[in-house]
Symmetry: C2
Subunit: 743 residues, 2 copies
């Protein structure tokens, strides 16, 4: 019998329409659910695997399955480890076995979408872990992340997965937020470029669908409290929080995840203006909208009725839920007239069309080999992400022959390098900064932790000072950690729960802080160590922009290293002992303390310059990094007058001179300030950036275009003046600016 939905010569829409005509309401609703946690669908059975009755029950309930989340997830929350989880060799078997069972349970043989966490590498055993997004952003080299994402995609494809959940859309407006590390920082343009890189790497290169999270505004949640509300206006949303999403969609992302937070009172999963009017009608998005885990059930804070909550979310534009009770009651919602079957069809069609587009209805894809690990690209990102904040006395690079003492709570901690959302690593893959420095020197350097992340250690300060005094130089490794333990408690959605006991970690999902200053125990350590009078290089390992004013004041050099991943120890060690160009730049401003927030560089102009009790500005601002004294920018040029529609793509240029004796890699940044009458200008807006290589003693004219993803302030036909200026170290105040009349 000819069944059109099986016919690959028909359009996806034709195949889906045929399927919809055949499916029952129950079956359609099944396609909108990914309720079962994937690692509970199967278990290791000696060397083999077996499928669970939980899977069978779910399949029986729906006559199939829409999507399965986290089938290969391995971490403290899932409890899956090297004994119980899916290593690379076993993963494709797990996927195939589950898919076979899913197909068999469906009258139409519809397979499930396999959805995996991949915020910085796939959260599965044996995957290539990457530096966190905030580190990637500090490279200002999206092409590196694209290459890495292509590898992650190849791994996922080899394991039989279809969709990768990747962060990118959260713009970090409050560094108290524990998920700071998952963002590409505070700037929409930088986030847009890295989001495009993720989509290109995963989708175009590897054929894995990218689901971009989170949409929208979650990086501006009040108080930096996870998933708290963002009472923002439409201009702030459009200028700060939407560009990355829009860029990712423009690049072809197949999915978007609706965020937990509300925007001005309306939870994103209930926000039809956001999920339908803006996303689909204005931007032309045709993929699926997935809700964050249990986000739809949270609507029951306003309605205790699960069917009603599900109906609100579906009508707003959520297609696929994750773990919610609410979406399992959509049948009841239809019965009660809260939804029509046509509403369900709209969402179901999107899920099915994605399956068709990904080839799921056309039989199993050929098995491909698991790709070789690529520590090189991970290390390259880690290395390029290092931001030298200060080295005024030129203590870097450290001489290889120096006796170097290693001090600090993060100096010998591998976990602290990795970030949140990581699988257990096999031994030997990652090394701590201490171990990596030891490998360079060929000897085991003297080491003293000095303190824990937030607590003193008995006698630690004295021992650290003693170790410092006996050395030629000190590497002082401070910061935070997102390390999770298999003993930790977790919330229903996998975020770590803050229990009664003092948590070891200070960042990551669920680990928001009230105070972003470096904790007192670490400030005391800085004082004790620098008191020894030995050249001291501070390395800040943190997924959050910390207030490190005292570190900058007291240490000879300071490097911000983010969470650099398993190859991060090596990258840091290499950078400490080698002549290099420091092209990494802050993707986020470093605040003085929580009391001075917000300090993002692109806030609007203010008249207040300081508080009674301190400066209101950032300690180090977005885009900054130690100035390369060899480099001179001069003679900026651009057109005098441009029509607003033609502003994106407008070419401007600047002369870049290298007075040094070595070739220089330079990151040139282009900032703008829009003067539109009646609108208060943002202090600066990044509208372009490019890496240039300048030969010694030579000059190049660097050309740059005003980026299509940048929101200059002239998007709506506004007219006025656009000041543009170049920099290599953040916006500062406009210096040597050119002005374009926009009409």
């Amino acid at each position: 019998m000819y069944e059109p939905f099986r016919d690959p010569t028909l359009t996806p829409r034709e195949r889906v329409d045929d399927l919809l005509r055949r499916m029952s309401l129950r079956e359609k609703i099944g396609q909108l659910n990914q309720r079962l946690l994937g690692w509970r669908a199967w278990r290791r059975d000696g060397e083999g695997i077996s499928l669970t009755s939980e899977l069978d029950d779910e399949l029986a309930r729906w006559g199939g399955l829409g999507a399965l989340y986290g089938m290969l997830r391995a971490d403290a929350w899932s409890g899956r480890d090297w004994e119980t989880g899916a290593d690379p060799a076993r993963s494709a078997d797990v996927a195939a076995a589950i898919q076979q069972r899913v197909r068999a349970a469906s009258r139409w043989g519809i397979p499930a979408l396999f959805v995996e966490e991949a915020p910085h590498g796939h959260q599965a055993l044996g995957s290539q872990l990457l530096p966190v997004n905030l580190a990637a952003a500090a490279t200002w080299r999206p092409e590196l992340l694209e290459e890495a994402a292509a590898h992650v995609g190849a791994e996922l494809a080899a394991r039989g997965a279809h969709l990768a959940l990747v962060s990118g859309l959260d713009i970090l407006r409050d560094p108290r937020w524990g998920r700071a590390e998952e963002t590409f920082g505070e700037d929409p343009l930088l986030a847009a470029h890295f989001t495009r890189a993720l989509v290109r790497g995963l989708q175009r290169q590897a054929g894995i669908g990218a689901v971009l999270k989170h949409f929208a505004g979650q990086g501006a949640g009040i108080g930096g409290r996870n998933s708290s509300g963002a009472p923002l206006g439409p201009r702030e949303l459009a200028e700060i929080h939407f560009p990355a999403a829009r860029a990712g969609i423009d690049e072809g992302a197949v999915g978007v995840m609706a965020a937990y937070n509300d925007i001005d009172g309306v939870p994103c999963v209930a926000d039809r203006t956001l999920l339908t009017d803006t996303l689909r009608d204005d931007w032309g998005f045709e993929g699926i909208v997935m809700a964050d885990m249990f986000a739809v059930d949270r609507l029951m804070r306003a309605t205790t009725d699960a069917a009603h909550a599900g109906a609100v979310a579906l009508r707003a534009g959520v297609d696929l839920s994750m773990c919610d009770l609410s979406f399992t009651e959509l049948e009841l919602a239809v019965e009660r007239g809260l939804l029509t079957e046509a509403d369900v069809d709209v969402a179901c069609a999107r899920v099915l069309e994605l399956k068709v587009r990904l080839g799921l209805l056309d039989g199993d894809p050929p098995r491909v080999a698991f790709p070789s690990p690529t520590p090189d690209i991970a290390e390259a990102i880690a290395s390029a992400s290092l931001v030298l904040l200060r080295d005024e006395r030129g203590v870097l690079p450290l001489p290889r022959e120096a006796r170097v003492a290693i001090v600090g709570p993060n100096a010998d901690d591998v976990e602290a390098l990795l970030g949140d959302y990581v699988p257990p690593l096999p031994p030997g893959v990652a090394s701590s900064i201490r171990e990596a420095i030891g490998r360079i020197g060929g000897i085991d350097p003297p080491f003293e932790a000095g303190c824990a992340l937030t607590e003193p250690i008995d006698g630690g300060l004295e021992r650290a000072a003693a170790v410092a005094r006996e050395s030629d130089a000190v590497v002082l490794v401070l910061g935070s950690s997102s390390g999770r333990s298999y003993d930790d408690d977790f919330q229903a959605n996998g975020a770590a729960a803050l229990g009664g006991r003092p948590p070891g970690a200070t960042t990551g999902e669920g680990f928001d802080v009230a105070e972003v200053r470096l904790p007192r125990a670490q400030r005391d350590l800085v004082e004790a160590v620098t008191g020894a009078g030995v050249p001291t290089v501070a390395v800040i390992v943190s997924g959050r922009p910390l207030g490190v004013e005292e570190v900058l004041d007291r240490c000879d050099a300071t490097i911000y290293a983010w969470y650099p991943g398993p190859q991060g120890g090596q990258a840091v060690a290499g950078a400490l002992f080698s002549q290099r160009d420091w092209t990494g730049r802050l993707p986020v401003s470093l605040p003085r303390s929580s009391g001075s927030l917000p300090v993002t560089y692109n806030e609007r102009l203010e008249t207040t310059l300081r508080y009674v009790d301190g400066d209101a500005a950032a300690v180090v601002s977005f885009g900054a990094g130690a100035r390369d004294d060899r480099i001179r920018l001069s003679d900026p040029r651009g057109p005098l007058r441009v029509a607003w529609r033609e502003l994106p793509g407008t070419v401007v240029s600047v002369r870049v001179r290298n007075d040094g004796a070595r070739a220089a890699d330079v990151l040139v940044q282009l900032y703008a300030r829009a003067r539109v009458p009646g609108i208060l200008p943002r202090r600066a807006v990044l509208v372009g950036f490019a890496h240039e290589r300048i030969e010694p003693g030579s000059t190049r004219r660097a050309e740059m275009t005003i980026d299509r993803d940048a929101r200059t302030g002239f998007e709506e036909g506004a007219s006025g003046l656009l000041d543009l200026w170049f920099s290599t170290t953040g916006a500062g105040e406009p210096v040597d600016a050119i002005t374009i009349e926009v009409c």
Copy 2:
């Protein structure tokens, strides 16, 4: 010759239309300016006064004058004091002399509006100063402020002024803001009631026009930084920032002042949606919109062209500017086609119509005597504003025979009681808390400051501890100060400038703080004093909600006293030594530290309960005060179902029982939580409050209506459930709630 504009039998509009037909463009624009600072229009000349050439120049320029700001202002910024300023006896002469000159300069004899600052009493010599607004709000008794405002109005009328600038619309969402004291706190309903009280007292009782400031959103400026932007959405504006303005306009306020801040990028003075669509078209406001001082010139951050800036503001809906260059160039703006003369006419008509309505065109009003001072009402507000936060061991009232030591930086400081925007007081009017306690005891109690507001004093802690040890009880007076000195530097708009030297003040306009915790010097003093082991009562004198967790933990009783005004010392002393009902309640939540902001009680529900490094909740929340253990609430009742339009005015009730042996004054608060599907509920919203007097051992059923000024969440035809609960000490979680179905 019959000139219709002089005919009092015509309508104001008819008279204004006639005037407009006669006036030149220049004359009309003159009516839109109040550029000259009023105290510079005249000078003391021995016992007489003379008018300045500055006034004559301004009159000659415009052929008249729209308005004159601060003619009677006396303070450090204006430099006017008892030697050089206008005392009550002289004020009406000053006004009459200036008005005569203004009329003579106008071809049509149009007088000027005299505009005076009266944020808590008229900022002029010999006026009755009141507690700051934040203190007034803590009484939860708007009728007290109405009575006081009527007195202020009578003073202004006797001095010949027409308009009073009064605060009320700023809703304090970030306590870092230096102007916290000028607000009625964090709640829109409380602010709405007190704004109504101001308008009733000034306008209805005294015939002085109220100009309500500031409109809108200034209490939510980012970072608590003065006049910084508020990137808010429309729902947050409508629910939090608009109700007070709307209530004041409903009460008949003749003026509104457009604020400095931008809302979502659009400065209020350039915001046509705000000033015209919302204020006039939606709310029916027919008075004048005045811009804050130099606020229009600040538009030159987007356009360097003053005429353009003026045109933008006028077209948005600003009628009368203050000090701006921009509004003096409106003639040029008309010439250049940025405005039409018809645009100018619209604004000019509003200014003229106000003059007509206030009787300015009908000759000088009869002189009235300056009213006798009313320290009683000021003291009554101060006394009712005291919030007892804790007295678990029952140390209050202190026995009159006890040897009481007075300690703390604010214990013997009169200035610290007064707040910002105060004139110099004549000697003997105000007394410090130490002096007032001394009068009660009839002896001079031992006193030791112990520390300055933000700095230690050499040996202070030791002396304070010693004084404490030798006493039966300690009154420890901590907090902040808005005291200004005639040596201070000021910004162009009169806000104090933060210069290089350590400022003495820690609150008031221009004195924003990064950290709202009680300063370390004072926390150290708390530790030193309480270490003496003597019963200690802390009194917090502050115009800002401070983080006083350690005070609450260590002192036996804590009273929040705000800036209680010149009679505040007496009010505090009286309260310490008398049996009384503490009915004052917090109008604003006390945060733990800046890191946990925002902590307002009516934020939306969140899932995060704490930060890694501390609790995310307020230390003491809005509406709270020490529980009166005699009082029991029970048996709440209300209708089961109400149509949304009928929700305002819906009657609910609760039984209030007094188990004590004395009659009790009780403040009953009514809170609501709206459950509207698809909207994230606010934790609680105050929808009503009332003072009840309950005889000993008896019970009353207190009836309350859902207030017309409350935004329940059901204003737009929404349907759902409304939980309602009663409390005497803040919202807490809903307990014993009744639920109304709203349809």
